[in-house]
């Protein structure tokens, strides 16, 4: 078989039943894997700057919390009605904990929490509030904006879709 023939066969394979079954299986696997387990998404917005930039591409790995619970400092995706549009946020507190912001510093149960991922200046003040049962408290890394303009707060654990792959 000549090289030319091999190249031609690679790009234009003969449609044998075996080949069609193989292609169908690969297509089915890709549909299930990228549709339900490892969902591709593009980042739109600046709420997670500088950790994640606007326009970046990532994948939401859905099996991450199959046998574990979200921990503080984890970055998670929070769903709305489905998986087409999600929020990318960081977990800062878990159920039962008390969250508070004082002059831009995060306090959980009265103790100051170090957040090396927050690089931009922040002057937020938020009175203490308890995270409800089966909820987690999520905030973006970019807090260099008025507190009213930042989408954050406690979300039900059932809304956590997974984590970004990187």
């Amino acid at each position: 078989m000549t090289v030319h023939h091999k190249i031609r066969k690679f790009f234009f394979p003969s449609l044998t039943p075996k080949f069609l079954i193989r292609v169908s299986l690969i297509a089915l696997f890709a549909y299930l894997f990228f549709g339900y387990l490892c969902i591709p998404f593009t980042i739109q917005g600046i709420s997670m700057e500088p950790t994640y930039h606007h326009g970046g591409v990532n994948f939401c790995w859905r099996l991450h919390y199959l046998f574990s619970e979200p921990k503080r400092h984890d970055v998670v995706t929070v769903r709305f009605a489905g998986s087409k549009v999600m929020l990318l946020k960081r977990v800062v507190a878990r159920e039962g904990e008390q969250v508070e912001f004082r002059d831009g510093e995060l306090f959980v149960d009265g103790k100051e929490i170090e957040e090396p991922y927050v690089r931009y200046p922040c002057d937020w003040n938020l009175p203490p509030r308890q995270v409800e049962e089966n909820h987690i408290y999520v905030v973006g890394d970019n807090r260099n904006m008025p507190i009213e303009n930042h989408h954050f707060g406690q979300a039900s654990k059932s809304r956590i879709m997974g984590v970004p792959l990187w």
Partner: protein, 166 residues
């Protein structure tokens, strides 16, 4: 051989019949979705939109709503029952403050709890630019109730679901 030929012709006729039935008599789910597509089309605004188109769209938006529609949109201080004229006027005033708007709906979950009533949960994303040049990007989960009145699905309730509670 002749039998196979007739079998194939019969199969093709069944497929064509199904396509015709689906096209001519769309399922209720599709008709409900169409109302959202119309709402999206009429709320969206291009920078070149003239006054005549704007007036026509405002009028059209009102025609999608029931005579009295309940709105629960706390972020925009909308809470209570509004007539379709009030909704038209509000939409017109909101649109006039933007030079460009794009409303899109994702992740439809449509249920029919009783005859003539559709309950839809979905994600709505509104992007655009204000006349002052500021970027707008707002995503919300909505719970909508549509009622079938005179063979038309009309919005009778729209409520914003709180995904993150500050």
């Amino acid at each position: 051989m002749v039998k196979v030929k007739y079998l194939l012709i019969g199969l093709m006729m069944v497929v064509i019949g199904c396509v015709i039935v689906i096209t001519v008599f769309p399922r209720e789910e599709k008709r409900v979705k169409k109302q959202f597509h119309l709402l999206s089309e009429w709320v969206s605004k291009s920078p070149e939109e003239n006054a005549l188109t704007m007036l026509q769209k405002m009028k059209n938006i009102g025609s999608l709503f029931d005579a009295h529609c309940e709105l629960k949109v706390p972020d925009h201080s909308l809470s209570g029952t509004y007539t379709r004229e009030e909704i038209s006027t509000y939409a017109g005033s909101a649109r006039s403050q933007a030079s460009q708007l794009d409303l899109k709906f994702y992740d439809f979950d449509i249920a029919f709890p009783e005859k003539g009533v559709a309950k839809v949960t979905l994600t709505a994303r509104l992007t655009g630019r204000s006349t002052a040049g500021e970027q707008t990007d707002d995503t919300r989960e909505l719970e909508c109730v549509l009622k079938k009145i005179e063979n038309k699905w009309l919005f009778s309730q729209i409520e914003v679901v709180e995904v993150l509670k500050k």
